[in-house]
């Protein structure tokens, strides 16, 4: 579960996220949308404990990320938009390294199915330099899933994946949610959010514009129309302008 109360993130005089509160429960997939510069990445990074919040409280799986960071981080996984891999660790060595960091005993038994699920088992002894962008992304995700996190943050999870990879990724996210994981993902691909997310949060200039189930948010901006898709909702909610 993710609990956020009055989260604010400032960079000097610039406020990236303002007074954001939300709760994401196990099994829910929250889609974070907003124009460029809306504060999506800052929000995700604060939730994952990568950057400190200026004010507010964040609890991950019941642990306060600022006072009990280690316990909170043991429960979460963060998947950045650009896979950050160690150039001189092979695919298998990445999983070995992460297993030691998280203390995942018998990690081979978990790693092999993950490698096969993401179709990188054949590349297990290759360095990241020999992998395509999509494969690197898959490896980063496999590393994040190794310790079976109960809370997951995805920043643009489909970037660089081929059509089959996109389908598998969507299935993977849905599967983890069904298994009880709490998931937040940020993406500009609104059709992805429609397919995968149970809830949506629209941000603009760091502020919450709308939050709720897809149906609730659609209803809020449909102005009585039926069959309004998320793209239309997004344009109406953000006024069709940047930031």
């Amino acid at each position: 579960m993710i609990e956020v109360e009055a989260l604010t993130k400032r960079y000097g005089n610039f406020t990236a996220v303002r007074d954001l509160s939300l709760i994401v429960r196990p099994g829910e997939v929250l889609g974070l949308v907003g124009p460029n510069g809306a504060g999506k990445t800052s929000t995700l990074r604060c939730l994952a404990g990568i950057i400190p919040a200026t004010s507010g409280a964040i609890r991950i799986a019941g642990y306060d990320i600022s006072t009990d960071a280690v316990a909170a981080k043991r429960a979460l996984a963060f998947f950045p938009d650009e896979p950050r891999l160690f150039e001189y660790l092979s695919v298998r060595q990445h999983l070995n390294f992460v297993a030691r960091i998280y203390g995942v005993r018998n990690h081979e038994e978990i790693a092999q199915p993950l490698l096969e699920e993401f179709e990188i088992a054949e590349k297990a002894d290759q360095l990241p330099g020999a992998l395509s962008r999509g494969m690197k992304q898959k490896l980063a995700i496999a590393c994040g899933l190794l310790h079976a996190p109960s809370v997951m943050f995805f920043d643009e999870p489909l970037t660089g994946l081929d059509p089959l990879g996109i389908r598998r990724m969507k299935n993977s996210i849905r599967k983890r949610a069904r298994e009880g994981a709490t998931i937040v993902l940020s993406s500009h691909l609104l059709h992805l959010l429609e397919e995968v997310c149970s809830h949506v949060l629209i941000l603009k200039k760091g502020e919450k514009i709308a939050h709720g189930t897809l149906a609730d948010v659609a209803a809020q901006f449909s102005q009585g129309e039926t069959g309004v898709n998320l793209e239309e909702v997004f344009i109406r909610a953000t006024g069709g302008s940047e930031g």
Binding site: Y11, I51, N106, L127, G129
Partner: protein
Amino acid sequence: MLNALLYLRLTSSKNWVRSRVRRLRQPKYALGAIVAFAYFYFFFFRNLGRTPGTRSLPPDASPLMDAAAAGVTLPTDWLPLSTAIGAVMLLVFTLFSWLVPARRAALGFSEAEIAFLFPAPIKRRGLIHFKLVSSQFRSLFGAAIMMLFSHRWTFLGGNALTHAIGWWFIFSGLSLHFRGANFTLTRLTDLGFGAWKRRVLILAGVISIIAITLAQLPEAERMPAAADAFDARPFSQWLLTLSNSAPMSWLLWPFKTVIGPFLAGDTRSFLLTLGPALAVIVAHYLWVVRSAVAFEDSAIEHAEKRAARMAAWEAGGTRGSVAGAKARRGPFALASFGRPEFAFLWKNLLSTWPYFTVRIGLGGAVIITASLLWIGAHPTWRGLLPGIAAAAGIFAAYTLIVGPQFARQDLRSDLGHADIIKTYPLAGWQIILGELLTPTAILSGILWLAILTGTLAVHPLVMESEWLTGTLQIVIALGLAALIPLLVVLQLLVPNAAALLFPGWFQTSRIRGGGPEVMGQRMIFFFAQLVTMVLALVPAVALGSLLLFTLHVFIGPIIAVTAATLVMAVVLAAEVGAGIWLLGRRFEHLDLSTELRAS
């Protein structure tokens, strides 16, 4: 078309300078620039306008040139000799350009240049001209820098301008020659002329020229036999004769011509050398333009590899080229449970050379021990021991002080992965400790070998000493060995602290070719490291010395050294522990997005 390309180059250069001037508003760059300019001023520019002092020459020095007024006594034939030596050096340089290359001509285009220029309606010759103009910028810059050095060599004569122009001729000649050779070799490869065949033929050709010249020398001018008293004159005379005799003189002629303006001692001889030097440059230019081959494919491949190298470097990579790197076995079996800090040791050892292993370290220790015991046992070679001991001491000091700048398999290499590392369920101090393990292990291993060398080299020299007994020597060596890892961690804490406390500064100091302000930043970092190290050592050394001198009187040196080592180790360990904890706290609160935004 060339105008557009020239515009691109000039505008890029202008904007590069502008951006650097503009960022001097930020204190970190301003301070770096002040330090760098102060360095340049005091070491180079201060004497730039001055003419060499005139000192009255001794009466028997009449055949010497005015340059001797600077205090350097040169033989009358120094100019032709210098020309010959310089020409031989250039010949060796250019020989490399014919022997080494195994890849096709690529011309070194960047990815952006390829993206914009290759699809543009520009002839291949236009692209070559663009690169030639670009290389002229480098030649001019190199000439200006080298002039700052050579202007101090007053015995050369000439002035700052003639030196700068002289260097320009040398750099331009070399640059054009490298390109021409690259094109010609690519043509030869296309004709089925293999690399090894080419290398053998070129070497055979050069050796034949030298052999024919030697064979043709008259008996009286053959190579002088070694005399008891060292005298370089007969040898230099022989070298001069060799360089002036055909066919060697034909081979060296272009090189002597290019070097002429630089070595010209006065305006008249400078002007006289300009024409022939210019002719050589023009001939090289025509050769390059006419021998041009298709370079587009190899240029793209070269640019991609370079971009990957740069990306790896900026991300903190340390193992050289990423392209072509292969996975290798871990340095040790990493179990999936246990102290997580060792995972960083394991990972970072994989990022460096594979030679840093316990097995190689022990092998080195065995070789050092066997060699020094053998040397110590042979009176003929025993005289080498003081030199070996001194060299080991200097090497150890150098490794301790400068080593942390090179062994960067720590947080400095992982700063690009900070966002991922921050999601690990580890306390900050655990991450810092883990990150410091690899460079500590590497540098400690090297320093232990240096201590072993020094101890074994000193031992036979002081065997007869009453106070420095064999046991005491071993105790001192073991004490030093025990303190080494702590000293190394202490040294490593400083650059890692710099990376954490000033990530913006640190990131910019990693950029290559960043300008004088970045050079100044690096100087500040290094100076700060030295000062911090001295300050951190003061309490440990003070307490250790006090204990050593006190206990030495009452109990004896062995226990005194042991106790002093223990106390120093405790003090250093406390400092290291505090440093790691503080850096860990800093890492936990590090907001890279803010820090790098400010840079």
